[in-house]
Symmetry: C2
Subunit: 387 residues, 2 copies
Amino acid sequence: MIAVVGLGKAGLPLSFVIADSGLKVIGVDVDAKKCDMINRGTNPIPEEPGLGELVEKHGGKNLIATPEYEDAAGCDVFIVIVPLFVDDTYNPDFGILESAFRSVGRILKRGDLVVLETTVPPMTTETLARRWLEEESGLELGEFHLAHSPERIMTGYSISRLREFAKVVGGVDEESGTKVYDIYKKFIADLHMVSSARVAEFIKLMEGCYRDVNIALANELFKISGELGINFYEAREYANHEYCHLHMPSTGVGGHCIPVYPWFLIKYMEEREKFSYSELLRTSRTINDEMIEYWAGKIILECLKVNKPLDDVKICIKGITFRQGVKQLYHSRNLALVKLLMEKGLNIFVYDELFSEEELEKMGLRGISPDDADLIFDSSELWMEIP
Amino acid sequence: MIAVVGLGKAGLPLSFVIADSGLKVIGVDVDAKKCDMINRGTNPIPEEPGLGELVEKHGGKNLIATPEYEDAAGCDVFIVIVPLFVDDTYNPDFGILESAFRSVGRILKRGDLVVLETTVPPMTTETLARRWLEEESGLELGEFHLAHSPERIMTGYSISRLREFAKVVGGVDEESGTKVYDIYKKFIADLHMVSSARVAEFIKLMEGCYRDVNIALANELFKISGELGINFYEAREYANHEYCHLHMPSTGVGGHCIPVYPWFLIKYMEEREKFSYSELLRTSRTINDEMIEYWAGKIILECLKVNKPLDDVKICIKGITFRQGVKQLYHSRNLALVKLLMEKGLNIFVYDELFSEEELEKMGLRGISPDDADLIFDSSELWMEIP
């Protein structure tokens, strides 16, 4: 029997894909209400295609959700897939992860396997996770098994990604590697074993860095094409081919993943005093985070076209979430742009169909209907309009 | 009738693909011997697959090579595809390009079309090329037509690239755009017209920048994986998928293309005092060019394993060209690595199957059979061996 610890956006699809393969799953989540909902067959993430049917079919049957770790004591595989947050300077706060591992440690038995799926700084699985489990269980590695398998969920594609995308597993020792491979093989079609948990962790960080650096490149080439009076999108369309994959420009990169993962490597290199080993990652972070200054400049200059004193121009930033259509604000560069423009003393309003007037007010923002603004900046499509 | 000016690695395959489409071509090249060879049906670039048959079939018939521009006076389309070299600080030396354009200008007639295929700094086609043609021909743009179509040749794949790869054309004015599209359509299957010559130029620079930045990223992640004790290649294999295209690490990037093109944009941004607009391109150049310091350090530390005083250790750098199997040294980082290690006072030898002992000596290098060395560094495969 398999326990999945953490029934969030990544853990829930995974746990139901496992249940759908015919295995019995205990889903552990601190949110008791969410557990009840799942056990009644109601999908707490309705926006995830394909998940609803699985929850309806297996919720409370093949998959039993519970807020109590004790209910998972009969399991012999524990998959930990809880959030890892970072503080304002991107230092990870291991609180939730530690609590999950220590709780698993308390019910861990000889021969059990624990798999970490959360994206973590290098070597977290083999150091911290191992220590937490050993301290609580009284067992030593070898008596239990420990592995890493990076989640590659993407909101909106979670089920299909698990079913069709390559997934990687790696053990902290050889036996753990074989064990995690044999078990994951039961529910993941395209599975690959790598030589260690450390490699498995690094694979996920590399992917994130590829994205961040290539978004920074797109942003830089976007700025250059602006200087050249060239339409970036036209040039990109014909530059891209089998060997060229230029990304899209943006106001920066938000969310819990891409803007965070490079810091795991940057900080690790700093600890080792290899400051020059993460130059490109750091430069990319700076470029992406400072895109809001670029856009603020563009927006202010666009006000030249509005026949009003600058402080009278009603500017509407359309879209404040970090990704269009997802009501999340973590490290949202669109929200950062709004605050930056407000700080500069401009007359800033926002519009986002996901937020009510009251919600915006609570955040210290003023809502507006785009039609009532003098200038609209669409943060996801990157265009400006004078209605 | 179409004239192709420059029968080098890029111009020769292009001119024969045009000839093979049934059009008559005059190939102009300063090298009279090469022209004779071509007219006799002998391929001057035997290493280019598929080219030999075309030269045999069309050389001296559909395609006539000549060192005299006058022989191309009857042509109404002129494709200029000559080298653009840069000086030590990457400022372009337009000498060859100017000479080619002025020569074309002298035989240019009303209604003719001139197409630049050489990769150039932004706006070269619409400024310099236009001026050279106008000054020599006495005509004004509009009386003749001018366009850009970036060559996307890759040594070893030149014919197949022309036949199968997307090709882009863009005119300096609308009429030039239509004209170049109609003509190129006769011999290029996958042809796309973009809105201007400037966009066409930029597309090629973007591609080069994508490559350079992504090689820098691979090099940076390679260094980080070394610190982590991880096999980069293993991690890369499983990190790459449909949305992730991590490149290969190296001693840096050599040749006339990738290490040069980013500088065209960096310098253009500097001229406009937008120093921060090319941060990522510049950082990537630095990372790639400084990889030789990284490898020098690695090689020196590997000498710890050789039981000899350090200055006695015979170190063999295997491979000195900028690309394996191509006898070219321009901006070769492997050669730069050799020189760097020599400067440091180490006992450096080289081995490259493309160079004789005498050729190496002329370059101030000492040849060695790898078996006679105490330590071998393979510059293309990036491994070290103590034989």
